[in-house]
């Protein structure tokens, strides 16, 4: 894991460093496949960037590269699931959802088949630009009946997400982000539960509900706020659907102010889901949604884009101060 890549070899859409990256998802999928012979793996010409090269090399008979044809991949996965298999399909988030949404609804979700749709490059986090950025995927996938939507906050939760995806009998959308550089310490696998948020930090002044890439940003913001005398809770809402309504309402009661933070449009994603829970329960409180503010983005480094589109810890801390002030 610590060696440096020095020879001339294929570059990776995600790994822009000269060090190999851990493949926490790819390892977890191979491990799951060892224990369950029904698991098969499909990709649309993106094996290394979706960490499925490991599966390809370990179980070549259970691996299919369909070529660059995502709609066909989803239909084929539907056929395989109808034949008793558990297909995991792989591409980038944008192509895994938007490009084949009709196929997902009709060939996977309506018949409630165990197809697990795995996307990488969530939200703005890619240098590849607007064509490869999925800022609408959670919104559309959340509307699909039977669909579970998971966005773990880091590689330490990837194995847990694979486990939850397999526990769910129907279709799942798994929105994953590979780390951009090798971790400094070994990854310690963490657990997740379906429909349960993880209270990553407990404080009584404000709650930040975040998912994916925004969770570490929220934790950084919470540390800044603490130095200023604001004690924030941070909820890691990896299970976006089903959502942990109970925890949202409990934290609303306990802290009286909520900020949501997501690497996605503010329309239809995690922030909307939390707002729906609050409104349905008749809870009014100071509330802010952080995310992409109904605009298209552009390619760039993740740190640059997070700052530009108001997704970084600075923006989260600012929003938290504001809602705390509004509490009066």
């Amino acid at each position: 894991m610590t060696n440096t890549l020095s020879k001339l070899e294929a570059a990776d859409f995600i790994n822009r460093s000269f060090k190999p990256l851990p493949r926490s998802y790819g390892d977890a999928l191979v491990e799951a496949a060892r224990n369950d012979s029904r698991i098969v793996c499909l990709t649309a010409d993106l094996s290394p960037p979706t960490e499925t090269d490991l599966f390809r090399d370990t179980f070549p008979d259970r691996f299919l590269n369909v070529g660059i044809a995502e709609a066909n991949m989803i239909g084929i996965a539907g056929g395989m699931a109808r034949s008793g298999e558990i297909p995991f399909t792989h591409s980038f988030c944008a192509f895994s959802t938007k490009r084949c949404f009709d196929q997902i609804t009709m060939q996977v979700a309506y018949p409630k088949l165990p197809v697990k749709i795995v996307g990488f490059l969530p939200g703005v986090a890619t240098i590849l630009g607007v064509s490869h950025q999925a800022i609408e995927d959670i919104a559309i996938m959340r509307t699909v009946p039977h669909m579970m939507v998971l966005e773990p906050s880091g590689p330490e939760y990837h194995a847990a997400a694979v486990k939850l995806a397999l526990e769910h009998e129907g279709p799942v959308y798994l929105r994953l982000k590979r780390p951009e550089k090798p971790p400094e310490a070994p990854i310690e696998a963490q657990t997740l539960e379906t429909g349960r948020g993880v209270l990553r930090r407990e404080g009584g002044d404000v709650t930040i509900v975040a998912a994916g890439l925004e969770v570490p940003e929220a934790l950084t913001a919470a540390n800044q706020l603490f130095d200023e005398g604001i004690d924030a809770s941070v909820v890691d809402m990896a299970s976006i659907k089903p959502l942990d309504s109970e925890l949202v309402l409990e934290r609303a009661q306990a802290t009286g102010a909520i900020v949501t933070a997501e690497n996605h449009s503010i329309i239809g994603g995690l922030g909307s889901a939390v707002a729906e829970v609050l409104a349905d329960a008749g809870v009014g409180l100071p509330f802010r949604r952080l995310g992409v503010q109904d605009t298209f983005c552009e390619g760039g480094s993740t740190a640059y884009l997070m700052e530009k589109f108001g997704l970084d810890s600075f923006s989260i801390a600012q929003a938290a101060r504001e809602v705390v002030l509004r509490k009066g």
Binding site: D61, L64, N72, G75, G79, R82, E85, M106, Y110, P111
Partner: protein, 281 residues
């Protein structure tokens, strides 16, 4: 090897079955006053040949894992589909009278509400073929000898996903896959070549790696021969261009190019009378 699930038929039997299916189609569409009567009549021979002779099915056990699977990917051509499923014993034919009434599982576009005999919900055109390819791949992996039939519409082949699936099926040499295009030349906006021509279709499918046959889709003997040739073809998928005549079997309707036909009572009555005469003879 005996195939107890297969309904072996001679051609004369099949002709009578096809006529019975046509009579159901007329009755079902007559009750709503408009619908896909022309396509149903045109495709009746394909359905009779496939469901009553070629495919290995067990209506008493519709989820039998080793069954052959038939995907009607033009899922709106349902009068003929439901007539066939009912006559083949997947449900009681009395259900046919509920066609397109509120609450009935027999909707215009076939969905799995009908039961597992509808192998996929295909109303959104171009999708069922990919599902058939997925099933065919899984069967190969699992060592099953089932065959996978898709009935495509000719207009449906304008969908890009059809060609994605065809490309993969050809590249993988899926010889358990047999695709029939119901070449009736009729799509929503008019004759297919006026909307967007598929020509040269046979050359296109050959170049995608398919064994291609061009047959009269209203000739039961020719259809059975084509299915037999497809079954005997190893190492590549089969494509049968079945040229059908819309309205086939009812003299007042044959060749009338209406995608959705208003079906006045008196026309329906004369059609019924003609088909009943044929059955009585």
């Amino acid at each position: 090897m005996t195939e107890p699930w297969k309904a072996k038929r001679n051609l004369e039997d099949l002709e009578r079955i096809a006529t019975r299916l046509r009579l159901h189609v007329v009755n079902m569409v007559a009750s709503t006053g408009q619908g896909y009567v022309q396509q149903g009549l045109g495709a009746a021979d394909i359905f009779a040949a496939l469901y009553f002779a070629e495919a290995t099915l067990d209506p008493a056990n519709p989820t039998w894992p080793d069954r052959d699977r038939i995907f009607l990917t033009t899922a709106h051509n349902t009068a003929i589909l439901y007539a066939t499923l009912g006559e083949r014993g997947f449900f009681d034919t009395s259900l046919l009278s509920t066609y397109v009434t509120d609450g009935s599982p027999l909707e215009i576009n076939a969905s799995e509400r009908v039961g597992p005999c509808v192998e996929a919900t295909c109303g959104s055109l171009g999708q069922g073929f990919s599902v058939a390819v997925g099933c065919a791949l899984a069967a190969k992996r699992q060592g099953r000898h089932s065959r996978f039939y898709s009935i495509l519409g000719d207009g449906e082949m304008q969908e890009g996903q059809i060609w994605e699936a065809a490309m993969l099926a050809g590249a993988m040499g899926l010889d358990n896959l047999c695709t029939i295009v119901d070449y009736n030349f009729l799509q929503s906006d008019g004759p297919m070549d006026k909307v967007m021509s598929l020509a040269p279709l046979e050359a296109k499918m050959e170049s995608f790696g398919f064994e291609v046959q061009d047959v009269d889709g209203n000739d039961l003997g020719a259809l059975l021969d084509a299915f037999g040739h497809a079954r005997a073809t190893k190492g590549k998928p089969s494509f049968i261009k079945a040229n059908t005549l819309v309205g086939k079997g009812v003299s007042s309707l044959e060749g009338l190019m209406f995608h959705q036909l208003r079906f006045p009572g008196e026309v329906a009555d004369s059609a019924k009378a003609e088909l009943e005469r044929k059955l009585a003879s």
